[in-house]
Symmetry: C2
């Protein structure tokens, strides 16, 4: 089952069913919003199946054309959002390039608490205040959870994953190192997050979900030119391992979002990267300096993931970055530092 949320002027939008080919969509009916569906999954999800089946068989009279521009993020806002950094290869490259050392504890994943509002849809322009903030992207898979009780076991954690989607975890590298050094996490370094137009259930992934990981390529283009296609199978922690560590002493409410962290593979010289910072780090390792620029106003980014049958799983993030965001003058940005900024 594939789901999306229609812009209807409200903060939570209207839940839509989308067909597998991403050509048609219609109101879900049984659930008004994604949050309502997640909170009542066992009761409501089965009620969507008849209409979903008709939509996929082109037998649903109420179907309209699938249009990402009319959609919000699949879950427009969430009561909790944590982003992991579960591909350790990415950190290794960053630490090698900049002689850094992140004090990790073996077996314990890096999880970053994030804001659950200000989620951006897949094709609207993304505005940010100044190129000096060193705007970067991170291609990730995100899962949406139902209620996870504190202390959930490793064995039970995966069953709480209800939906999968794709995100661009937009990062402002010019603020990252200063905030990391303080130790209290990321604020100015992590503004709004962009979501693919569609979220899908586990069965849509088929055999591609194995070993607690999405074994598919994250296909990333910058200005429609190939940038990388690292694969999800190299996650150093499974979703279950991330969830069980996170929920050790807290409940995770229905609608909680978990990101994998930027995709990164050991074979990065062949498959490329899913963020600029990693490519810039490789350039530093190879030549001593970075030549790939951070996001400039007018740049566009494309992210997509394809099922084994080559169909697009979540639709495409295709977004242009522009000047602006917010009203009137901002607090003075901290001076960016092109090298120190590029941690993680």
């Amino acid at each position: 089952m594939k789901l999306a949320t229609l812009k209807d002027g409200s903060r939570d939008g209207r839940l839509m069913l989308v067909n597998r080919q991403l050509t048609a969509m219609t109101e879900a009916g049984a659930a008004a919003t994604m949050q309502q569906l997640i909170e009542n999954w066992d009761e409501l999800a089965p009620q969507l199946e008849a209409r979903n089946s008709a939509l996929n068989n082109s037998e649903w009279a109420g179907a309209e054309a699938f249009d990402p521009a009319r959609l919000m993020a699949p879950l427009p806002r969430a009561y909790q959002f944590v982003d992991a950094s579960s591909f350790l290869n990415h950190g290794k490259i960053m630490e090698q390039a900049y002689n850094l050392s992140v004090k990790k504890t073996p077996g314990i994943p890096i999880l970053v608490q994030r804001q659950g509002d200000d989620f951006v849809n897949a094709v609207d322009d993304y505005a940010f205040p100044t190129e000096a903030d060193q705007c970067d992207f991170e291609g990730e898979i995100a899962v949406i959870l139902d209620d996870v009780p504190a202390g959930v076991t490793l064995e039970n954690a995966e069953s709480h994953i209800k939906l999968f989607t794709l995100i661009n975890d937009v990062s402002m590298r010019g603020h990252l190192f200063r905030e990391l050094q303080m130790g209290f996490g990321l604020i100015n370094a992590k503004p709004a997050t962009t979501f693919a137009p569609v979220a899908c259930t586990l069965d849509e992934l088929g055999d591609s979900f194995a070993n607690g990981r999405v074994n598919l390529d994250m296909v990333v283009h910058r200005n429609h030119q190939w940038f990388g296609n690292p694969n999800g199978r190299e996650m150093d922690f499974s979703f279950a391992e991330l969830i069980s560590h996170w929920a050790y002493n807290r409940n995770l409410g229905a609608g909680t979002v978990l990101g994998t962290g930027t995709f990164s593979n050991a074979g990065y010289r062949e498959v490329g990267s899913a963020c600029l910072a990693e490519r810039r780090a490789v350039e530093v390792i190879d030549t001593g300096e970075s030549t790939t620029p951070f996001i400039q106003y007018g740049d566009s980014l494309q992210f997509e993931m394809f099922a084994s049958d080559r169909s697009s799983l979540f639709g495409k993030i295709d977004q242009t970055f522009v000047a602006g965001n917010g009203t009137g003058p901002r607090t003075k940005p901290v001076a960016a530092n092109s090298r120190n900024g590029e941690v993680c």
Copy 2:
């Protein structure tokens, strides 16, 4: 105006009006939930005034007895929660006691992204998995914001504060140092947050809100014995300064919660502290070792703040800490470290 949320079996509860003396409450009527009120403040808040006036004049027939046990957190869940560390005196004591250095940038506040769900009411038991996690409290004021546009100016930031309340930012010191060292913020160190039963509008604070700060004592008792009463006037950053830095490049959605960080005063030897870690640090400075224990199962904590007329502004947090929380076995807790744990 004083507001609370009644437990009604739903996730968001039912919005209640509470009289100034905290003796009577009744359904708000015009708004069903706190989130709905905050999202439509300018339209709905005026509609509550007639009933609020009648309630305060004992002329409202529908009034029932105020009962904290029947209430949830005033806002039971939020799309964004950030906790500041705006009393620098607290950090100075911690750094002196443990020879630590937090790499702060002058003029830039410490803000910690936190989870907006799993908010706990004022009098329900608080369960945590093991005393080895070094359970601590932090007495803070929290404000609830309406929609704050990215780039909000310092001048406009304060106008987005709609409500004030009191929180115990429960902290697990045994996980704190490990998580701070990684740099990515706090997860196991910061489980569920406890809220006072009542939130109130600015006018209830009267002259006590000045210079962008709540100039009142945070009265803290442990097991009904005085622990401290530091004053809010010593915040090193005003609420407006915290909000404008935070919203530099992101929108804050209606219902966003901002905590001040644990109250801490330069005159801590007279007024005491609002958390155990700070008292333990003073003991280390004075004698080389801490003697005040972290929260033990069975301990209770009381937090309250009084208006200039000595009335209780938010009602009292009076909570007992117990073993448990969650279902079944947990992931193995990281070994606690009684000294390294006590940063911030």
